[in-house]
Each structure stands twice: as structure tokens, then as C-alpha cells.
Symmetry: C2
Subunit: 353 residues, 2 copies
Amino acid sequence: MNIERLRTPALILDKEAFERNIETMRSLLEGSTLSLRPHYKSHKCAEIARMQIASGAIGITCAKLSEAEDLVDAGIEDVLIANQVVEEPKISRLCQLAKDARITVCVDCAENIAALSRAAVAADATLYCLVEYDIGLQRCGVLTHSEVIELARAVDAADRLVFDGVQAYAGQLSHEVDSEKRRSETEARAKDLRALLAELKAAGLGARVLSGGSTGTSAIKAKEGLYTELQAGSYLFMDSTYGELDIPFENSLYILTTVLSVKDGLVVVDAGVKSCGVDQGMPRIYCDEAREISACEEHFQIFEPKKQYKVGDKMLLIPAHCCSTVNLHDKIYMINKGRVVSRIAVSARGCSK
Amino acid sequence: MNIERLRTPALILDKEAFERNIETMRSLLEGSTLSLRPHYKSHKCAEIARMQIASGAIGITCAKLSEAEDLVDAGIEDVLIANQVVEEPKISRLCQLAKDARITVCVDCAENIAALSRAAVAADATLYCLVEYDIGLQRCGVLTHSEVIELARAVDAADRLVFDGVQAYAGQLSHEVDSEKRRSETEARAKDLRALLAELKAAGLGARVLSGGSTGTSAIKAKEGLYTELQAGSYLFMDSTYGELDIPFENSLYILTTVLSVKDGLVVVDAGVKSCGVDQGMPRIYCDEAREISACEEHFQIFEPKKQYKVGDKMLLIPAHCCSTVNLHDKIYMINKGRVVSRIAVSARGCSK
């Protein structure tokens, strides 16, 4: 099928650019200390997770238990939930998953460690734990070396839990446009992390894993020789926000829209907030520019685009945030040279629990 | 089930507040010129659409063809698509729907009217059309009386199309906090619309329907005696943005979250951009306040809340925008006195095509 015939808005993926991004990441990490454990949050497609495993990823990172359930259900055998799981019904389910796959979860408080251990014992399951260390994101994780060591010791002492290392994710640097600042800030954190790892080792708590990183810091982390696992996700698709950075990936994901209405200086298309994530701003127009873009639920209002459009014309948009955009769709159309070559189910769409 | 046991984030609906909102709208419109044709975009639940019809709505408004398909599939027999349908494959499907239900669609250009007519003839179906008049939203619709009359004449002359009236939606006024400005701006538009309707009548093109309005302007429109159909949607749920206005509806929709992590001055919960629409800003905390709230994909970072929280505590959030929030969920838990009393499927979640 020609993509012009797709009902819009449709999420489309350029097969060749997508495959080049996979190859670029493979060659970037070649010979480094880093293994790729790509983040599921960006694509949420079990089919793509399997492609990533087939091309060398050691496992998959995800944000939520419900995403881990989807991954294990699809045959992925090594899953990191890069967050805390604290509700009792979820912990119980987590331990069931851990009977079917190698499951790692993050911890940042002693009560949660105790609850995970009790549930793992009851389920006769083993859970792997990373202690989360907050290196400036101001989200989950503890703030001091002594707290990391204390929690690592608690995990190590807990029945059916394995202390496997540390998660340290500097998400606040991922989109830093100034590449020198991104590099120097990442290096400052690396120095602190080396000290932490040495202290853990001295305490008899060797960290096998140091997990973190993003698409924006992949190249820096590949060179620094510190982290063992890279959690990048967006490198597959890119978006207009990451497009501002000097990183070696290219845009492969677009929203195909149809022009609904045209009047003096204004073009209205049939995609909006409900089909394109706007949490990082407005999308860009592929091969065009506009004075301003506004968003409604089902429309973008495009003021003074440079090109001429008429009702029924197609327009390609580049989302500002690939992750929040994919979560709005049930399927991604993979295209090559203007034709649909496959359709990929967004199997974990909406899996926020 | 006690709501404390729900896996979070969970979208919950307070049954009593929801039912009071339905009754408030019924009494607001009693004796007015306005019939209620509530907008599907806010709830996207066929079950709630049936409740609205049962309590007096004359039909349902929706934004997209795929929402109309869901409504007709669920037995709703009178549907307005408050937008243009311009792609050939969609027009063909629209005409098939029109064989099963009374379907109305908006038009704002002559080529589209011709295409709709050709397809309706081919399908042996009748389509009802509203000419869209742009009264300041800067979205679809024509800008002048003469264009409205010209398009109405084209519809009237086209085979298998029925000119049924005008759509004029001043969405830019829906959230105007200054109630005097909201009233005076709405009245200024009413004056212009009365003149337009008179000109249409003089041209032999009587408009049976004048459709528009929103939750924010419902009370004004109920008094002005001009519009025949009210498209309000959010009145059922409200949200923190509409909560700023002096309108007679109350909040009934919340996101139940769990506290994942707590440290000095910071509480992190397990809902974020992927479970709470942030296109109109950050959510509010029910019965609490914070200095600042930031959003990640799966977390809100709540800085300096007034109350004390510990890991595992529940927190209720009031979304800033109910419509974009509901679209992120597959189900809504209806609760009464802290217990789940029913679960409603968001049957048209993701229906943006």
C-alpha cells in the first residue's frame, strides 16, 4: 500500500533510517565497557525488542511492571524495571514474573527491600536489585554514598534478593544542547561514581552493574569506560528535541497527517495532542517551516508555513518527543520508499501500571 | 474492592459527583433553546454515551470518524462529527456509517462538499452537513457570512447532502477565567450569529441547527436563546483548568497514584505524562498543595507538598485536562465511598483517525 492511502493521523517509521540507527548504536558501543539494554518506554513494541535482542542487546530496560509483563509474555528473558515497585499486589506479580525470566528492579528504601524479600521468599523466586543513586535528576534514588552502601548491604543480607549493582541516570543532561556542557557534567558525575564504586568494593559489595545513560549521552558513555549497561531508547526513532543535539542518529519516526482546512496564512491538519506528544513542545514539519504551531486535541494549527497546501494534502510531522507519541498509537507502519512494508503492534501502549 | 488495592496509576471516577454533574447540566438546559449533544472526546466511553442519551441527550458529538464508528457500533443512532472528513477512504467509510445511523459532518470547502456528495450517491446514503463558521478559534471554518451562505447553497444543491445548519465553536473562550469577559465575548458573537442566521433565511437556506458551546459557556448559552445544540463534554468530569471558572460543575475524575520515593522536600509518584495529560499544565493534588510539580513520562515530582507522605502512600491527582487524560487509559474505575462499584471501558481510546 502507498502511504498516501493510510488513514491519518498515522505513525510511520522509515525502515532504512531505523536500521541505520540500530547499526550506528552497535558500532558506537563496539569495544566499549557498555552493553546495550535499550529502554522499552520509547517504542513499547515487543517485535522491536526482539529485533534489539537479535542485534546484540543483553536485555531490555522498562519503566513499569506492566511493561515487564508484556516483555516476558513476548519471550524476553532478561528485564530491568528501572524504577521502584512498592505496592503489595504489584510486588507479588513481580515475583511471579521472576520465576519466568531474570528480573531486576531498582530500590531506594529499606522498607521496600524488606517487602521485596518477603514476597520473593513466599514465591520461591529470586529478584535482582540495583540501588538507585540520584545524580541530579531529582526523582527517585538516594543522594549520598553512605545511603547507597547501606541499602546495598540490606539487599545483600535479604533472602532471595541479589545485590547486582547501581542505577545512576542523569536524565537532566540527556537533552543538553551544549555538547561541551553535556560532556563535562557527565564526566563530573563519572568521577563521583568511580569513588562510590570503590567504596562499595571496599565494603565487600562489588557492583557488577552500573546502569544508566540515554540517547543524548551514549557516545560520551561509550568512551568513558565506566557504565556497564546503557539504557538508551530514543536512538531508534529520534525526535525534534534530540534532533537539536550533535549525536549520530537520524530521524526515522513521523506522523503522517492530512490537511483538513486552509485559509489565509493558516493550515489545519488532523493530528493534535491526542496523536502527538507535546510534553516537550510542538512538532516540526518535515521539509517545511512555519511561523508558529498551536495544538488542539485533534488538530495542529500551522500558521504561515512556507509551502503552499490545499485540503487533502499530506504533511509529515516530526514529534518533539518520540516516547510520549508512540504511547498514543496502537500501531506503527514501517515504510520503505513510500510504501508500507510492515505493521508493528505497540504491544505495551498504555502500560503505565 | 477497596480503591487502595487498585494497581496505580488508575483513573477513577466519583459516582456521586459524576451523577450530580449530569443532573446539573439537565437542569441548566431545562426550558432553554438548547438540546444537549455532548462531546465524546471527553470520555470516549460508549457506556457513558448511552447514559447521556438515556438522560435526555439528543445525540453525541465526536471529533473523528473512528470515534463515530465506535458510537454507531455501540448503538448510538445520531452522531455529529464536529470536523471535516476529507480523505477519500474515510469519506467512503463515512457514507457506510450513514446507512446505519443519522450522521452529520462539518464542511468548510466546496471541493469537500462535492466529494461527499459523489460518495453519498455511490453509497446510496444521506449525509447531513453543518457549514463551519470560524468565530475566533482560528481552526477550521470559513470567516465570512458570504462564504457560509455560498457553502450552504452548495450543500443544498448537492445530491444526497442535506444542509442542516451551522457549527460555530468559540473554543478560545471556553477557559476564560474572567466570567464577565467570557459573557461579553460570547454575546458579541451571538449578535453576529443572529445576523448570519437571518441572511441564511433570506437566502432560502434556513438553518435548523446552530451547534457549538462548551462546558465553560454552557450557562451563558442556556440563557441566550440562540444555539440549538450544546457540544459540552468536560462537564461530566471537570479538571483543574475548568475548576478555575465559576461554573456549576464539580470535579469527579482523579488519578490514583502511589508514592514511590520520598526524600528531603521531594515526593515522587507513579503517574506522569503517559497517564495524565499535561497539555494544559500540571495536575493538582487533591486536598494538598505543593511548591512545584514537574513531569516525567511515568513520574510526577512533587516539591515541598504541605502534607507528609511515605513510600506506598496513595495520592489523588486532579488532571489539568480531563480529555487528554482519559485518552491515555483503557478503563475508568467508578467508585463510591472508597470502593470500586463498576469499571467502564474507554472504548474509543486512541481513536484519532
